[in-house]
C-alpha cells in the first residue's frame, strides 16, 4: 500500500521537526522508487537492444521525484524549508544506498573491474555518490550556498527556478554557483581518486 504524496509530505515535515521515526517510514518509500526506476531502466535497455527504442528517462525521474517530494500541499511559508529538508533526506538515503552497495561488492558478492573504465576516469561516468557526498561536505566549509545548490539540484531534483526560490537568490546566481560548484567538485573528486598523482 503506497502512501499518498500527502502522507509522504507529512512524514517529511515530521522528520524535519525532529521525528526520527518518520525517517524509518521514508526510507522504504525512496527504495521503492529506486526499484521502480531501475526496472524501467532495465526494460529500456532491452528495448534499445531489440528495437533501438530509447525511453524518455528524464520524465521517469521527475515523476519519481514528484511522488516523493510534492510541494503542492505545503504552505507557502514553509515551502523553501520543505524542499531543503527533502533534498537533504534524498541525499542521505541515496548515499547510504550507494555505500551499502559498495560494501556488498567489496564483500565479494560480485566484483567487476573494467580495465578500460578504471584507467579512464571521466566526468561522463556516473559519479560515485559516496565520494561526492564527502566532497560536498568539503565544499560547504568553503561556500555553504554552493553546496546547497548542489544538494537541492542533484539530490533534491529541483529545477533552477525552484532552487533559486528556496535559496532566495536569482536564477542567474544559481546557474553561476552551479557551474563553479561542478568544476570544484570534479576537481576535488579527481584529487580524491588519485588520478592526478
Amino acid at each position: 500500500m503506497t502512501p499518498s504524496s500527502q502522507e509522504i509530505t507529512q512524514l517529511l515535515v515530521a522528520w524535519s521537526n525532529g521525528d526520527s521515526a518518520a525517517l524509518d517510514q521514508l526510507i522504504p518509500l525512496v527504495h521503492e522508487e529506486l526499484r521502480r526506476l531501475a526496472k524501467r531502466y532495465m526494460r529500456q535497455e532491452r528495448g534499445r537492444e531489440r528495437h533501438g527504442v530509447t525511453l524518455q528517462t528524464t520524465a521517469l525521474v521527475n515523476e519519481a521525484y514528484l511522488r516523493l517530494i510534492d510541494a503542492r500541499n505545503v504552505q507557502w511559508e514553509g515551502r523553501a524549508h520543505f524542499f531543503a529538508i527533502a533534498a537533504r533526506l534524498m541525499r542521505r538515503i541515496l548515499v547510504d544506498y550507494a555505500r551499502s552497495r559498495n560494501y556488498v561488492k567489496r564483500g565479494g558478492a560480485a566484483q567487476r573491474v573494467s580495465l578500460e573504465d578504471a584507467a579512464d576516469f571521466s566526468a561522463e561516468r556516473a559519479p560515485d555518490l559516496v565520494a561526492l557526498d564527502d566532497a560536498l561536505d568539503a565544499l560547504a566549509k568553503i561556500d555553504e550556498r554552493k553546496s546547497r545548490v548542489v544538494e537541492l539540484r542533484f539530490f533534491g531534483g529541483l529545477s533552477v527556478e525552484e532552487t533559486a526560490h528556496v535559496l532566495e537568490v536569482s536564477p542567474e546566481t544559481v546557474l553561476r554557483d552551479w557551474r563553479l560548484a561542478k568544476s570544484w567538485l570534479l576537481h576535488e573528486l579527481d584529487k580524491r581518486t588519485g588520478y592526478d598523482d
Partner: protein, 814 residues
Amino acid sequence: MTTERWQCVERLYHTALERDTDERAAFLADACAGDEALRCEIESLLRCDARAENFIEAPALEVAARLRAEDQTQSQQARGQAAEMIDTAPGPDVGLAPPGSGLLSATPIFIGDYRLLRKLGEGGMGVVYEAEQQNPRRLVGLKIIRGGRLVDEYQVKLFQREAQALARLKHPGIAAIYEAGRADDGRHYFVMELVRGIPLLDYVKGHRLTGAQAPCNIRRRLELFLKICEAISYAHQRGVIHRDLKPANILVPEESEGQSLDGPGLRRDEVKVLDFGLARIMDEDGAGASGLSQAGQVKGTLPYMSPEQVRGVPDQIDVRADVYALGVILYELLSERLPYDLEHVTLPQAIRIICEVAPKPLNRAWGESRDRESRKTERIDRDVETIALKALEKDPERRYRSAAAMAEDVTRYLTNQPIQARPPSALYQIRKLVARHKVPFASLATVFALLLGFAITMAALSARIARERDKAVAAERAAAEQRDAAEQARNAERVQRAAAEQSRNDEQEQRLLAEANLKSAEEQRALADKQRVRAEQQELSNRRLLYAAHMNLAVQALEARDWGRMQELVESHVPKPGAQDMRGFEWYYLWRLCHLDRLTIRGHGEAVHSVAFSPDGKRLASGSLDRTVKLWDVGAGQEIATLKGHTGNIFSVTFSPDGKRLASGSADGAVKLWDATTGQELATFKGHGDAVYSVAFSPDGKRLASGSGDRTVKLWDAATGQELATLKGHGSWVYSVAFSPDGKRLASGSVDRTVKLWDAGAGQQLATLKGHGTAVFSVSFSPDGKRLASGSGDRTVRLLVAATEQEVLAREKP
C-alpha cells in the same frame, strides 16, 4: 581558504569563462599578478569546467536507480545453474575446437557482461570459452581460472593493479587482455582477444585447420621465433614477465596461413602470445603456474621452467626466466624435442635435471625427430645451437640479458653475420664439471684422467691435454730420477767422506814427510798447499751433495709425516760460523713447514670443548661434545686411545700432576678417572645433580675438585672416589674450579657472577669476590698463589688478591 580569496577565485573564474578560451591564460596571468597558486587554482577549475558539462546533471535518484538496475542485471545473468554448467560443459581437452563442438546449452550463461558461447579449451589453470561481449558487441575469449579465491581486499587490489598493467600491453604479437573480473562464486576470469589459430608446434609440423602441409623449414621456424621474441621483448620493456611461456601459449593465427611459407615480407602479426603475465596473478592465489601435482609427478609446463623457477625462488625470477623459456621453445621449434627428457621422471628428479644436466645436443635431438631424407637436406647450424644453449644456461647471468638480445643473435644468423654468443669455453665446462661432481680434485692424476675423458669430445683441448700429460710423465720421471740421484748421493756421500778422510791423511803424511825432508820443504809445502786447496774443494763439493741429499730426505720425511726426522735434517744445515751457507729456497720452505703449527689433530665428531697436556708434554687429552675423550701422542700426532663411557658432552679434561691419571667432567653429571697411559676407565664419581663443567686435581694429586651445574663444588678423594665435601654457596652453575698451588685453597667461578674462595681442606667458604657483570667462565691462581685471575662474559679479566684469608676478608668487609 579565506572568504576573500575564495571570492577572488570565484570572480576571476567567471570572468575568465566570459573570455574566449585562447585569451584566458593571458587574462589570468595578468589578473593574478604573480600569485601563482591562485592562477593554478583557477586554471585547474577551468580545466574541470571543460569536462563538467554532463557531470551530476542527471539527478541522484537516477544515478542510484541505474546502479540498482546494473546490479539486478548482473545477478540475474549470473544466477542459477551457470556455475555448474561451466564446469560440466563438454569440451575438448586441448587446443581449439572445430566449430560446432563444445557448444553450451541453449540457456544463455553469463559471466559478468559476457555470454558464453562455447568451450574452446581446457588447461591446467582453467577453461577458455568463446564468449560474446554485450557492450561493445564483440566475440572474446574468456578464461575462467580454477579455484582462485582471493581472501582480502588488499589482494583484490594487487590483482586489479596487475590486471591493469596487463591491459596496457598492446602489441600485435600479444593477445590483448580486455578485462579481469570475478564470477559470482569468486573465481577470477580474464577476458581477452579471441585468437583463432594453430598452436605453434602443430603449425611448424605442417598441421592446418584446412589439412596437412609440408613442415616449415629451419629459416621459417627461426622467423617465427623472432616474432615471438619481439612480442616478449615488448612486454619486458613494459615491465611484464610472462613466466609461463610455452608453445601451447603461442598461436599462429589462421589469417597468416595462406601466405607462402618462405615468402618475404613477413606479416607483423604472425604469432600471438597468450596468457601474458597471468602466471604471476595466479600465483597470488597459490594456484601456481608450475603445474606440479602433489604426487610428485611432473605435469604441465615444467619443461619450460628455468632452474630458478623450479627451485622456487620468486625473488630471483626476472626477464631471464622468459629468456630461458624462449631457449626451450627455440630448441623445440628446431628439433621438435625438448632439451631434457622429463617425461618419465619424478618431480625431484626433474628438478635436478633442470638445474644440473646439460641439454641434449641439438643436432642429435633433431636427428631423432626427422626421417633420413630431411636429415640429409637440412642440418642445424652450430651457431643456432649456440644461441639456444646460451638461452638455456643454468645461471641467469650467463644467458642473454633480454629477449631482444637473443632476437638480435638470431637475426645475425639469418643475415649471415657472426653471432655474439660463444660456445662455453673448455675451461668453463671443466669448472662446471668439477662443481657438478664435487669430486675432490686433489690429486693431479684425477684431473688428468678427467681431462683425458674430455679430450675425446673436445678436439680443441686434446693438444693441451697431451702437453700436460707429457709434462706430468716427465715430472714423474724426473721425480724418480731425483730419488735415484738422492740414493746415489747418499752412497757418494759415504764414498766422498772416505775419500776426504783419505786425502786429509795424505796431507798429513806429506807434512810429516816435508818436516822430515827439510831440503825439499818449500816444494813439499807448495805441494801440500795445493793438496789442501784440493781437499777443501773436495769437501765443499761433498757438502753440496750432502745438502741436496738431505733436502730430498727431508721431503721424504715430510711425506712420511716423520716430523722429528724432518726437523733434524733441516736444522743440520744451519751454517756454522764461517762455513759457507748452502741453503736455497727449499731449505727455507722446509724450515717454515717445521715451524708451523706442528699438526692438526682430527678425529672428534663434534666440537672439542677442553684440552689438556700431560705434565711431561708428550700426551694430549681432548674432551668433545661427541661424548668421548681422546688421548693423543703429541710427537706423532696420532691417537693413542678413545675413552668412551660418558653419556653426555664432555666439558672438562685434566691430567693428574704425576701424569698417570686423567679426569673428565661431563654433562651426564659424572666425573670419570682414567688411566692416562692406556685409556682404561678407573672410576666414576657420581654425586652431582647436574652437568660437571670443570674438574681439577689438587697439586699433590690426592684430591679432585669438580664444579657443576647443580651449583656446588665437590671435593673427592682421587684414589678412593669418596666424596670429601660438597661446597655450597653459589647461586648458579659453577663453570670453573682451580686449586691454589699450595693446595690449601680452592677457587670457583660461577654464572652467579661471583668467584668464591674455599678452604680446600675443610670445605669452608672463605670469601666471595664480586665485581663481574655476568657469568664467570674461568678462574686461575698465579704460580705464587697470591693472585687469582677470573675471566667473565662481561668481557673483562679481573685480577683478584687471594693472598691470605684475612686479607681477602678484610677487602671484602668495607
